[in-house]
């Protein structure tokens, strides 16, 4: 499964569990307009850490907060490379 697919399916699953209307996911979608709140993101990041073995947000280096869904995916792709 590619990084993108893994991340997408986590977004979708968490949105379903939290009964949120998820906006159509595209690289340009602003995360703040995705329909997910910070708790949703916290859950997604925790589950991605278990699935992928990385949590780029807790990495030692300063990271630029991702603004869009595309930024989010790139952040994970960069961490795993």
């Amino acid at each position: 499964m590619s990084m993108r697919t893994t991340i997408t399916s986590q977004f979708e699953q968490v949105a379903r569990e939290q009964e949120r209307q998820l906006a159509p996911l595209s690289d340009e979608l602003a995360l703040l307009e995705s329909g997910l709140d910070s708790l949703c993101f916290a859950i997604i990041v925790a589950r991605l850490e278990d699935a992928l073995g990385v949590d780029p947000f807790s990495a030692a280096e300063e990271i630029e907060s991702p603004v869009t869904f595309g930024d989010f995916i790139r952040l994970y792709e960069d961490s795993c490379s």
Binding site: E17, Q18, S38, L39, F41, A42, I43, V45, A46, R47, D50, D55, F57, S58
Partner: protein, 447 residues
């Protein structure tokens, strides 16, 4: 003459033999007025020493068997220990700078020594502090026995038992009940399998048996719960949720199920025997009650003749507030005329600024029929500070019906039905077992 016996894991001593003999080899006189450290591996030698030394020693420190060796030096200093009474497993007195050492005999040897009581002996119990080194809590027989009904009221033929070690407050209460009533007592042992302990208790005809909710969950999991037929099943030491109370009522339909609120510092506050978790609102704020209870910052505070006096040690924090109340550290919540325990104040998890108590979530998870017990803990989150995650132990034989995604979903949905989003575990993991401390409590990370 008392009829009962102390049943240890590998020996039984009758109370009559104990009254007529000495377990200290006749060396009791030399211990008069001393501050004695009682250290033994099994509980029976400690029980014998306690009975013999009370009234004679100035102070007795009840040393639990699992005490890490690095704590001995500070305990000896803080309690001003000048005598060690122990078994073969006890630390060497000389190495700790203790001038006198007496071996506890495994069987009391006559003649008994005339025990003129000259002291109101201080009973020092150890309780876990947040920094790792134990706190020394000062009680006397008067504060310890304050909650006990008079021996005559107990009725003949009672046989007591407890999963607890009697050197801890919960177990000590049972020990005192047995001794005062001249009744038999079945003692547990640290590494003994639950089945074997229950078999011994059954053989002795146990009528009253006490433990923490975690002890009882493990007993129900052991498959040997039915080997005993007690009249009274008692819980204390941890929050007793409705699930465990109901499970015990089903397992022991002829028994009375009682849960007690008690702690080493606050003593025994109250018993609840109506089968419901929590306690009636009427218990709070009753002026003139034997046990005064009040709330401050949602935390339960207690004042009674059963509370401990103080912590030993110069730098020790005050155990009792200026107005004589002990802060139990337990958060309670009022709902429909009943208070329920929400959790330990220092166990709160902060999820995006919202406080979450693990016990509340565990109670919901535990209500699923396939769940035996659970542990909710914090997982650090770069987004919200923390999220809650849960470790779950399933009921039944391991491997019999393995966990599935469906089960995970069911449990989380049950949580979502009654809990707000931030209290629903972000991740659920199935584990074969959860660690229960020597004191019978679920081990919480960072606790």
């Amino acid at each position: 003459m008392p009829q009962g016996s102390f049943h240890g894991v590998d020996a039984t001593i009758s109370l009559a033999d104990l009254r007529q003999g000495s377990c200290l080899g006749g060396r009791l006189a030399g211990l008069r007025g001393r501050s004695v450290l009682i250290a033994s591996k099994e509980q029976l030698p400690a029980a014998l020493a306690l009975v013999e030394l009370d009234g004679v020693a100035r102070r007795m420190v009840l040393c639990p068997p699992d005490l890490a060796p690095e704590h001995f030096a500070s305990i000896v200093a803080t309690a001003e220990i000048d005598a060690l009474v122990g078994d073969a497993a006890a630390p060497a007195a000389a190495a700790l700078g203790i001038p006198q050492s007496v071996r506890i005999l495994s069987v009391p040897v006559p003649p008994g020594v005339l025990r003129a009581a000259s002291y109101e002996t201080e009973w020092i119990l150890l309780t876990s502090g947040t920094t790792g080194s134990p706190k020394l809590v000062l009680h006397t027989l008067s504060s310890l026995a304050g909650a006990l009904t008079r021996p005559a009221a107990l009725g003949g033929g009672s046989v007591w038992s407890t999963f607890y070690d009697i050197r801890r407050y919960g177990g000590l209460q049972i020990f005192l009940r047995a001794v005062r009533g001249g009744s038999s007592l079945v003692l547990s042992s640290a590494n003994e399998p639950v089945r074997r302990f229950l078999a011994r208790a059954a053989k002795a005809g146990v009528t009253h048996i006490s433990g923490t909710p975690s002890h009882w969950r493990r007993a129900l999991m052991s498959g040997a719960a039915q080997s005993i037929s007690p009249q009274v099943v008692r819980l204390s030491g941890e929050i007793a949720d409705q699930v465990i109370l109901d499970a015990l009522r089903v397992a022991y339909p002829r028994a009375k199920v009682v849960h007690a609120f008690a702690s080493t510092e606050a003593g025994v506050a109250f018993d609840v025997d109506d089968g419901l978790a929590g306690f009636p609102a009427t218990l709070i704020g009753q002026p003139g009650a034997k046990v005064l209870m009040k709330l401050e910052n949602d935390t339960l505070r207690i004042r009674s003749s059963r509370i401990a006096s103080r912590y030993l040690g110069g730098s020790a924090e005050p155990l009792v507030s200026d107005d004589g109340f002990v802060d139990t550290g337990d958060i309670v919540e009022l709902r429909d005329g009943r208070y329920t325990f929400v959790g330990r104040r220092d166990g709160a998890i902060n999820v995006g600024g919202l406080k979450v108590y693990p016990e509340e979530i565990e109670a919901v998870i535990n209500s699923h029929p396939r769940v035996q017990m659970s542990l909710v803990r914090a997982r650090r989150s770069p987004i919200t500070g923390a999220v809650v995650v849960a470790d779950v132990v399933l009921a039944g034989v391991e491997g019999e019906r393995p966990a599935t995604e469906t089960l995970t979903r069911e449990i989380l949905e049950a949580c979502r039905r009654v809990l707000p989003a931030h209290k629903v575990p972000a991740i659920l993991r199935f584990v074969p077992a959860l660690e229960v401390s020597a004191a019978g409590k679920l081990v919480r990370p960072g606790a």
